[in-house]
Amino acid sequence: MSVIEYEVGQRPGPPTRPRMEVDPITLRVLGGAFHAIAKEMAGVLFRMSYSSIIRESEDLGAGIFDAEGRELCESDSTPMHIGSLPWYIRGFLHRLEGRIEDGDVIVHNHPYLGASHSPDVAVAVPIFHEDELLGFAAVTAHVLDVGGAYPGINADAFDVYAEAKMYNALRWYEAGKLNEDLDRMIFDNVRTETMNRGDMNAMLAACQLGKERFLRLVERYGADVVMSAAYEWMDYSEHMLRHEIAKLPDGEYRAPTGWLDDDARNRGVRLRVETKVIVEGDSITIDLTGSNPEVPTGFNVPFEGSLLVGAYYAVRTILLDEAVFPEHVPQNDGVFRPVEVVAPKGTIYNPTFPRACFSRFTQVQRVVDNVILALSDALPEQTTAGNSAGIHFCAYSGFDEKQGEYWLYLEVNEGAYGGRHGKDAMDSVDNLMANTRNNPIEELDLRFPIRCDQYELRPEPAAPGKWRGGIGIIRRNRYLVPGVYSCEGDRQTDPPRGVFGGWDGLVASCRKNADRDDEEELDAKVTGVPFAAGDFIELVEPNAAGYGDPLERDPELVREDVLDDFTTIQMAREGYGVVFQDERTLEIDAEATKRMREELRASRNLPGSLTRYFEERPVERPPNPVSVAGDREFGRA
């Protein structure tokens, strides 16, 4: 069944199930119960699972959905998964033409039928009550390998058939009975059978638990009350978001053009990202018209499971910021409703089947970053300066002769946030839509033939601003056995953008065998690069941008930054105009600072850029003793 006819982004409209009034107390109770179920499902999933990408990083999502995929609740795991499951469900319902039986277990990952991308496999079980399909308990999780051309990551795949095995609405269990041949088909065709099996078993257990818990609510309160409460909560979340959108003046808000490094094959050809935010009353449209045409690699974005999720995330996070907004507004179908997304067919944000779309994360992150930048004049107190808005998602792998399987380690390298109104940025943390956990170094070293040589803040100072930008990390990982390395990354050419006079940030970089005579610069997106035993990769993540004029930063705060090595004495002078009496006590010379700031103010009219600053002043990095010892160990001293 071809999917070229499938029209993406079709929402089912308002629920048609008859509703009854639910008293405010029961409503409150059920709202809490929905959230608790999702949380519990996620807990089971990450604790039971085998691969570190799920277990340590929690790259997963879990929730309960109605029969047409409307989201009742989702777990507080990484936002990239939140809001994609409705589209998976609509996608597999389309493929199954609605044929769902009690006891079925559906496995799905088709990126042109709702999946976020092919390695984010969904497992879903229907919830029946008195012969009525009330909905689904469903989870998504990033499984290590889905049998594409290369282990773990396929950024430059030829088409969807090359990037992964497609699980298109497969019934792993049919009416409660295991489909044995299908089971073998799934697990015989991945490089990490044991891990995938353990993980997918955990996913199934999470779904079954979700279903049981939901049915317990239905038994106790009745299906009509439970479903009515669910729809009531959707209306609540929708109302809260619309109320905030309506406060924005109608109009079009445009972000500066963003540039992605390349498509993983055609080097040096940057890809354009155009973002317009259109506010009309209490609705908002993210319009990506003008963005790059689709690419012949895996660097396209599934429209439903990834792009829409990014747009929902951006709007909700800016307008209903959980740390600032006084009420907890649950994440459900309601927060999706006020948001429309326009991306012309045939662009990287709405590709045509069978274009590959394995690596989509950085493009979506840039849309989120651009939405924030577009709204910075309208909402200066709710937006940030430019974020790292990328990721270096790495796959380290090799074949384990003894096990007869691949070893495969997936790593999410964190970014940093831009400066914010009234406070400094968050350093070295998963940025925007990413919210995974890192893999402990000791866990990595013990479990894989990899050794982490270095993991800390990169040495360059933060991007200056009245509120400074966040600092990215430097990380070095060494192969102790021969293997291959793949990565989907970005942001190695276009730095995070400063706002209101804050400086632009620093770009990322990847180097194989950094500072060694066989050093090699790597592009952000590479596939299957061979690494010999003793070779290592160095990843350096962006420093995000500053917010506001650094000459307005309190000199005391600059001094504190110097003490903590978040900035340098030199940058204090050149970027902030802060002069110290002497370099030991760091007493501020108030007079000289005043003069220096006046001088800088007079001589400068454009925001600065850390990237430009360091092009002129290469940073000297002292040799890292662990790297030195590692090189010696492998005869590369």
């Binding site: 405010p24 107390i25 109770v29 809490g32 119960a33 608790a36 519990e40 089971v44 604790r47 039971m48 277990r55 929690e58 507080d76 939140i82 044991t194 955990a202 257990a205 079954q208 818990r213 609540y236 809260m240 109320h243 909700r316 996070t317 910021d321 959980e322 740390a323 600032v324 994440q331 924030i372 709710q382 937006t383 964190e414 946030y417 406070k423 968050m426 350093d427 070295s428 943390v429 998963d430 919210n435 995974t436 956990r437 890192n438 402990p440 170094i441 000791e442 866990e443 070293d445 013990l446 050794r451 270095q454 993991y455 800390e456 803040l457 990390i473 003490l563 978040f566 003793p625 662990v626």
Partner: protein
């Protein structure tokens, strides 16, 4: 034995004295002295021993529970900590697990960056690196280490944490740096990761070890001062403190590893609840300790405490990977504020009016409606009976708060809104009980709910009905249950060692030897405490997981030789525990054992309390304070019903108190809703039957809400 338990909380210092020989039990309560809690403690001991007519010198045991460590963390009031760590990994504490607390927020703070336990300027690195095999890849640069220590001293550090990668496999480098600290900077509080927490996962370990350093100097000062003052008072037994794992720490252990005291207070409450349950004949209990702003919830099956998963063990926003009893704290208490948000949703808490201004009924300037106000509106709290008459409540203030607040916003009557607020708060406690304990495979019908704290007994019956526990147990002194818990427990020391082995290829000789080493250490400590051999018990525990998984479960294992049978038993037990926790088992999978543990136990005499005089089944006349009316939900409707108000002190064993009834005592109030009934057992416990037909009826009444 003459034993004394003292629990220092935020508001009150509670004490209990027990003489196991004569059967004397005395309780005492006095205000906490926040500027120096040892003052209140010592004064309390002086008063209580005087009351008991014994001299402090006669005490055989003084056991102490405290929130001092917790408060240092929550108020961020610890020491200036310097950290020495491996070069190339300076920012493990800054990066943490690179995950944000909130998903949908650009303006949130990362507490470990905004309020770091160790500021970056005091995180210094030295060249060194141990590999995953415990071998030295980069030798320790001793000169650099010495220079760093001097640098920290010069910078005015008060504590030094030494945190190297893989030190749990090879502590050599850390030990060497510790030596240098002792040489160069002996006055610093020293916290070494391979000593404090020899376990893998560097962020969690470093965070724990640095927290240890952060609270170390002040806890050490407090504990030492308290010990000195006890000596001045002529208390001759050593001071013992309750740990987060409900174990015991000596003064020395508390000074070395104060991080183990982080949950000292709440844990004692759970232990006290277990004891109260056992005494009344209930081995399975859910404990509910409700104060002004928060509620602590614990669960014990067969009288055994449950431990938290090691990666869930946080204090405030900081990770502290230490064994902790599974106590869940939620923002629900008497001071929780009831309001309607702009989307029209009725909410209660977690915002609290606290003690100041307090509920509107306190008439101290609070205008927002709270749970306490709701109870006043409903007639459950009598204005003149609060704190034994120590405070007179203003019911019209409570009514006004509801009238202007939630009642108006929702178009409800004041009573309906008040009942709604109580129900919402009840539900959030129900939710927490279900989520954190009952949903892990424990059937609530097998448990009794123990109501503790000033407000626990107000809510308990309704919660029991909702959760499905058939009995509510209100101990004689709900407010001092935690102090009682201190005396109701054995002295338990726990020792841990990393093993990192698989069952299929277990090095039995090595595991046996490590157990023996830990056991010797445990024995030595207990003997030092004067525990005789017949009261001394050694237990073994392992952390285990399926090979390939990342999270461990604790499994009790038997004594004796590590042979096939021993391994088989461990394997079978692990499968069962995994299935109970996660509802799945994987028989074909190998099992890993990352850590082994030994528990050294000094058995304490069973705590026995006096019995209450038996009555004739009906409450005596003098127990009935007055007859009035209160609001309850009956047959689905909110109604004003005739209600009897009793004085608890006058109730006799065997008395049967049908609801609706309110039972008052100095530090608490128990509500017996209509349709339910309370009886007094021979120890003076109030038991409310909430199961069976009565429970069903009460549940239906509660569910058939018509608003």
């Amino acid at each position: 034995m003459k034993r004394l338990g003292v629990d220092v909380g935020g508001t009150f210092t509670d004490l209990i004295y027990v003489d196991d020989t004569s059967g004397t039990v005395l309780v005492h309560k006095l205000p906490t002295t926040p500027e120096d809690p040892s003052q209140g403690t010592v004064e309390g001991i002086r008063q209580l021993t005087a009351e008991a007519g014994v001299s402090p010198a006669e005490l055989d045991q003084v056991f102490h529970g405290t929130t001092i460590a917790t408060n240092l963390v929550i108020e961020h009031d610890g020491a200036r900590v310097g950290m020495i760590t491996t070069e190339g990994y300076r920012d493990i504490l800054h990066i943490a697990r690179h995950k944000k607390p909130l998903n949908f927020s650009n303006y949130q703070d990362l507490p470990w960056q905004r309020y770091p336990i160790v500021r970056r300027r005091y995180r210094l690195t030295v060249p060194e690196r141990i590999t995953r095999d415990g071998e030295v890849l980069v030798p320790l640069d001793v000169d650099a280490a010495r220079a760093r220590v001097r640098q920290l001293k010069e910078a005015g550090a008060e504590a030094v944490a030494v945190c190297f990668l893989f030190s749990f496999l090879n502590p050599e480098h850390e030990a060497r740096v510790a030596e240098i600290v002792r040489e160069e900077f002996p006055e610093a509080f020293l916290s070494v990761s391979s000593e404090v927490l020899p376990q893998y996962r560097e962020y969690e370990r470093f965070s724990t070890v640095c927290l240890n350093a952060f609270i170390g100097p002040k806890v050490a000062t407090y504990v030492r001062r308290l010990e000195d003052e006890l000596k001045n008072l002529d208390v001759r037994t050593g001071l013992h403190l309750m740990t987060s794992a409900s174990g015991v720490a000596t003064t020395e252990a508390a000074v070395e590893r104060p991080v183990n005291l982080l949950m000292s207070g709440p844990v004692a409450g759970v232990v006290g609840g277990i004891w109260a349950g056992k005494q009344a004949g209930y081995a399975n209990v859910i404990t509910l300790d409700v104060g002004g702003t928060s509620a602590d919830i614990g669960l014990a099956q067969a009288g055994k405490l449950r431990m938290k998963h090691l990666l869930d063990t946080k204090v405030g926003p900081y990770q502290a990977m230490i064994p902790m009893v599974d106590v869940d704290t939620i923002g629900a208490g008497g001071g929780s504020i009831a309001y309607v948000d702009q989307g029209g949703i009725f909410r209660v808490g977690p915002r609290s009016a606290g003690a100041d201004p307090g509920p509107a009924a306190y008439d101290r300037g609070g205008t927002e409606a709270t749970a306490t106000d709701a109870m006043v509106v409903l007639g459950w709290l009598r204005p003149e009976a609060f704190l034994g008459g120590g405070m007179v409540l203003q019911p019209e203030r409570a009514r006004a708060a509801f009238e202007k607040g939630p009642a108006r916003a929702l178009g409800l009557s004041v009573e309906e809104a008040a009942m709604g607020a109580v129900q919402i708060l009840t539900h959030s406690m129900v939710q927490s009980i279900e989520e954190n304990s009952v949903r892990k495979g424990f059937d609530p019908r097998d448990f009794a709910l123990v109501a503790e704290g000033g407000a626990g007994p107000l809510f308990a019956a309704q919660i029991a009905v909702e959760v499905g526990t058939p009995t509510v147990l209100v101990p004689p002194y709900p407010g001092v249950t935690a102090a009682l818990g201190l005396l109701a427990t054995d002295m338990v020391y726990e020792y841990v060692a990393t093993s990192y082995q698989r069952l299929s290829s277990l090095d039995a000789e090595q595991v046996g030897r490590r157990f023996a080493e830990l056991e010797a250490e445990a024995r030595r400590q207990l003997e030092e405490d004067g525990i005789s051999s017949e009261r001394l018990l050694i237990q073994r525990v392992v952390d285990a997981r399926y090979a390939g998984q990342g999270y461990e479960l604790r499994v009790d294992v038997g004594p004796g030789a590590i042979d096939e049978a021993w391994i088989e038993k461990l394997r079978a037990d692990f499968h069962d525990i995994h299935e109970r926790e996660y509802s799945r088992r994987f028989e074909e999978s190998d099992i890993e054992v990352p850590n082994i543990r030994v528990r050294g136990i000094g058995l304490m005499p069973p705590l026995e309390t006096a019995e209450v005089e038996p009555g004739d089944g009906a409450p005596p006349e003098e127990a009935l304070r007055y007859e009035g009316s209160a609001w309850f939900r009956v047959g689905g409707e909110l109604r004003r019903v005739d209600t009897r108000y009793y004085d608890r002190a006058a109730l006799k064993a065997g008395d049967h108190v049908p609801g609706p009834a309110i039972i008052h005592q100095y530090d608490s109030t128990t509500v017996v809703p209509p349709g339910l009934a309370a009886t007094i057992d021979r120890y003076g416990n109030i038991l409310i039957a909430t199961g069976g037909a009565a429970g069903d009826e009460a549940r239906e009444a509660a569910e058939a809400v018509e608003v």
